[in-house]
Symmetry: none
Subunit: 192 residues, 4 copies
């Protein structure tokens, strides 16, 4: 459970990281953004690392929801992967600052505990995607001349780079609309 202030701090942190990168994520900037003093932050988080951990936790939960929803419905595997993209696009369009977190492992290199946490998130997501692909290969939807592991790299790599480009372009194009074409391309690529 998180208090209102904690949520506010996490969101401000997200925006800060998105706008100025890790270097811009300081307690002072954070406090200024929210309109309180620096020590006040420490009423809500014991230290800076805890804020980053909460961000990852936040991301982990929201990603899990997306992934699990796909795993357990009756769509075809191809459709599932399409939804995977769509859901990510929706999520990032709504909260562009999330992009910085998930695609910038760099942010979390400073502390072993953070590295551990993000590795865990990434691995879990990879496994779910690979499971979807394997299912698709098993029932003849997805091509099986390429190992699921490599297909997952192609899929996630494309998704990541596409979103990264959107971020680099200052969110200047419509992620979802433009993304549709990427989804179609991915589908053509993986189908049997």
């Amino acid at each position: 459970m998180q208090t209102e202030r904690q949520k506010e701090i996490i969101e401000a942190a997200l925006v800060l990281i998105n706008d100025k990168g890790i270097q811009g994520f300081t307690i002072k900037n954070l406090a200024n953004k929210i309109g309180i003093t620096e020590p006040a932050i420490y009423r809500h988080f014991t230290n800076k690392i805890q804020i980053l951990i909460s961000i990852l936790e936040y991301f982990k939960t929201s990603t899990k929801d997306i992934l699990k929803k796909e795993l357990n419905n009756n769509d075809t595997s191809i459709e599932k992967i399409g939804h995977l993209f769509t859901n990510h696009f929706i999520r990032f369009s709504t909260t562009p600052s999330l992009v910085s977190v998930i695609f910038s492992e760099e942010v979390f290199r400073s502390e072993p505990i953070l590295i551990e946490k993000i590795t865990e998130v990434i691995e879990r997501n990879d496994n779910i995607l690979i499971k979807i692909i394997c299912d698709g290969q098993a029932n003849g939807e997805i091509r099986n001349d390429i190992e699921a592991k490599y297909l997952s790299i192609v899929i996630m790599g494309s998704l990541r780079l596409f979103v990264k480009k959107w971020q680099f372009a200052g969110n200047s194009f419509n992620l979802r609309a433009e993304g549709e074409k990427l989804i179609e391309s991915i589908k053509l690529i993986i189908e049997k």
Copy 2:
């Protein structure tokens, strides 16, 4: 154009960024790594940003060589893209610290001049890759049911993620050997 010391500084900076991320790239760490004092660094670079610029310059040149070589030989487009991967793998295996630079745009977020520089590098490379793909589509080697632009995202996204995973795994597997399978997968994906 560069003195021995300057090269030494750039290489140490690369290693530092690779090992500990941006946060670990301080003038103090840099000086310690080389075995000189901090002010000595300023004999060779006017400031920290210039070091980062030189790193990008260094990367730009070495990438240009790889790309240009491919563009102007007589291989098929598919082969060119295969070589593109292979050459990157060789380069990263030789100098693993380069990975952090090219795939962690985060590092260069602090200064407008750096953002400009890296955007330039990325765009130039993109254009060259798209050119190769277009050629391949024109002469019937590469599938043309997917726009070159999207194919380039799939290709570069896969390459980036694969190398990133290698970095995250602490360079623990053989990038080139494992990478062969990725190259084969990419070839299967893009061929007509």
Copy 3:
């Protein structure tokens, strides 16, 4: 004169000072130890200094009792000094945290009002001890080749150092039992 909570706070403060020294005596630590919040402390004491003053007051009263009892009974002077030691040993064994207060004037260096207060306590005790010694010298019990003032330093200095060593040893030996030998030594030293 003191509420239950006030006593509780004073005792917790004593333990804190004893365990971690002055640096460990913070309002936060104090509140944690008692299990209330920091502002709650201020319901019972107007500020931190008042807590220290209360500690001194507390110590002053309990010391006065010991000393006065000795002054006004019919024991010989030597016996009185023996009891002085014994009573201190009992008191410190019961409440080890008191040691830090009385022998660490350091704690009270921060504020003039505290310095004044502790000086007063020390002087008063000194005077009572000197009175006992003088009486003993007058009636031939105690050697008079040494001025009472210096004998008092020898006596109090020995007592203080002995207790300090006990504290430094983490209260690991039996203060009272071991202390018996010190009392015997002091008696041998001062008797005529």
Copy 4:
């Protein structure tokens, strides 16, 4: 070996601790006292604890000189102890700030490494004093109805309290002159 600046810092730290206690010993106060900025301190000591360690080291060396000198000359044991007092008095008169260090173990309670260090200093000095006393008892100079261990407490306790009183009185009396009488008293007390 210590640089001039390091010595200057140690001496300023000593004065600071003496004047205002531990609480007054801050990097800021230290820097102000010397007339440099706070970061400059860190050129000379890696951190605050290192300064305290150096103070102890400094004290340890100067005490060792005093003690060793006594141990290895041809004076009687009683004379040795007399010199011990005199030398301490001279040392403290010259550098009054030293008093705070050696008699305020409190200062060093904050860090385990400091506790260890000061315990070591104290124990070593104790052992040397006990050795002197035992020698004196063996050759019939010093009374042997009291164990050396307790005599050492009486001697060191007296010395400490006397010096402490001098400090508390704001160094207002002549330590050495007044101290002569204490030395005489101690001699009377311990001689056979």
